[in-house]
Symmetry: C2
Subunit: 387 residues, 2 copies
């Protein structure tokens, strides 16, 4: 079999299965990303072991996720965030902190190293509200106070998760927290944030002066892509994840780049980002857990981590909401609405696995948490919001 057939066959298998399962999953009222992930689990060693060279999927996947995270930065609407206000930020902070510490302590209790514990805690911290917002939209309550707090909190949550990720991924990269590694990490963060600041400061000049003067027909889409990729490469080179750079590049430009401008980049990301989530599914290999650790122990870990992810959000977000002036039912609703994952968390999990700081049973826990929360949240929300 020649190279181009192997490449195209792998890519065709991925895209056909991913889109078929997306179609199915969407009709079940779930976010399409769960279909991509499931496709990867089926294609990968967990079930069929169909893909010959994971590398072909990985190449497109990494490009896809860099573009997607860059767009997440670009789409950050700081004005809208201000509107939701301090309340939403506090709700998000409550959820992130409680979940983080709960997961960190549980991981330490199961005898994981503190770096692994930091990583799984970071994975569990973010929220991805797409299934929540679909449900709120369906029930017609997305414009209510609860809806606005959840949407605002989800935004603040993303920024906090990326900040946490920047720190834990660089600690994992250097392997331990020592005098020198702290200096290296600090230096890396100073460099990347200085460039972010310069990019932000001169974003108007860069965009309207340089980018828009290009004669290429794909202006400004391609130039935006280049900036995102260069920042990704730089931050990866500095020992931070490439995704930190991509996110900061998007954030720096979010003020000047209007929505219709990056619409084309969204289409591009829509086609190639599924490759990343399929790749995330392919990376799962539960069979290597069998025999390596005691089965009861493995089940215990998975259950504990999944519970930490659920309880952390309900207690953290719901608790803060309750501590403000909301009633118990509304507070629980907010906590449940903040439960779902399947966004940044999955990206961090993939990075952790490829860095070698995340074990397979913890990766499995992160994936199970995604499916459990995505399936239960709509049901619970409907119960809580109707009567």
């Amino acid at each position: 079999m020649n190279t181009e057939l192997m490449i195209l066959l792998d890519l065709a298998i991925v895209i056909v299965l991913a889109k078929s399962l997306e179609e199915l999953i969407v009709r079940l009222g779930q976010p399409p990303i769960l279909g991509d992930l499931l496709a990867g689990i089926i294609i990968g060693p967990t079930v069929l072991g169909l893909i010959k060279a994971t590398h072909n999927v990985e190449v497109i996947g990494w490009l896809g996720i860099v573009v997607l995270i860059f767009l997440a930065g670009l789409e950050t609407d700081i004005e809208a965030a201000k509107k939701y206000g301090l309340k939403a930020v506090l709700v998000a902070l409550g959820g992130v902190l409680v979940t983080f510490f709960l997961a960190y302590i549980i991981a330490l209790l199961f005898n994981y190293s503190y770096i692994t514990a930091l990583f799984i805690a970071t994975i569990l911290s973010p929220t991805s509200v797409s299934v929540t917002s679909m449900t709120l939209l369906e029930l017609g309550v997305i414009r209510t106070r609860i809806g606005e707090i959840i949407l605002g909190a989800a935004f603040a949550d993303d920024v906090m998760a990326m900040a946490l990720f920047a720190i834990t991924s660089s600690i994992a990269y250097y392997g331990e927290v020592k005098h020198e590694s702290i200096i290296q990490i600090s230096l890396a963060l100073i460099i990347i944030f200085s460039i972010f600041y310069l990019l932000y400061k001169f974003s108007n000049k860069l965009f309207n002066g340089v980018i828009m003067s290009s004669r290429l027909i794909d202006t400004p889409m391609i130039q935006l892509l280049i900036i995102g990729m260069l920042m990704a490469v730089l931050s990866s080179y500095l020992g931070l994840s490439p995704l930190i750079g991509a996110y900061l590049a998007g954030l720096a430009l979010s003020k000047v780049v209007k929505e219709r401008t990056y619409r084309f980049l969204e289409i591009f990301a829509q086609i190639i980002s599924p490759f990343f989530f399929v790749y995330a599914g392919i990376l799962l290999n539960p069979w290597i857990v069998v025999g390596r650790i005691n089965m009861y122990n493995a089940i215990g870990i998975v259950v504990a981590i999944v519970l930490a992810g659920i309880v952390g959000k309900i207690l953290g977000c719901g608790g803060v909401a309750k501590a403000m002036d909301l009633d118990t039912r509304s507070s629980i609703t907010i906590g449940v609405g903040m439960m779902p994952r399947a966004g940044v968390d999955l990206v961090i999990a993939v990075v952790g696995l490829t860095l070698g700081v995340l074990t397979m049973e913890l990766y499995l826990s992160a994936l199970i948490l995604i499916y459990v929360t995505s399936l239960t949240t709509p049901i619970l929300l409907k119960k809580l919001l109707t009567r």
Copy 2:
């Protein structure tokens, strides 16, 4: 260096250099593809040898070219072709036949095997009129009789080139023309054309019945992409190039899929297809020619092939035009207008090189022909059309 950094670094190098050179080349009035190709020549072993794993570029490149060729099929407007009429078809046929036989005979005279000779002859056959149409547009003569004949001929030319390519690539795949290989090739062609016919016959039902009933937000772009990829994989599996399948898939659907429908796929192709042309440039390695064959001999081959590519079109297209009722100056103008390459020819050349039937000095000749014709055509056309 970890995997994702290596992948993103390679892709970033490619995209930054390709788009910078495109910017330069476009300002010089040349088609952007020459910038991509030049970027590959500079990055590759010819000059710098910068890319660590060509494979990363190759993966995106193959996906890109499949999408681009699929779109070429999809954009085929059979009604418009009818308008230009028989005259344009005959001009195209003249150019293809004369160039093909000239190149075939020259290659045999230089002691190449008949399979290699067939391949270089196929590479030299197609025309890519983007630089011609830019010049005609600039001179305001694109709506004249000469302009219409050239545009119509370029369309007919593409179809003929793909048909030739289907046959020569399958001969090259099986290595020789023997009894069994003829049966295998015929069988492959029968299968792929039967599926093409079914796809064409049921294109309306498929598109409006199946594809448009999808609930995915990227409908119908992603479903079109899937059809193109599946046909590409099938034809590659049958020993034809994947590009034959992609082209036929597009052609079969061209009747039902309207332009605004595949607009998004064009954007996608615009971002990723440069990777293929950069890859084509990386594949060039003139240093391996040195020492393997006599230098004077190599120069002789390159000059002869480049001349065959130029003379074949001027004699073939110009001759047919003259044999109809056009004056000598107009006939020469049409011949010159049909000279430029840098489209399907480059794709066929890459396939030939990776199949191992094309030698490096012949690949070099094909690339030189691209630059020579692209640089001289606008100058010659301006001289011929103004006085």
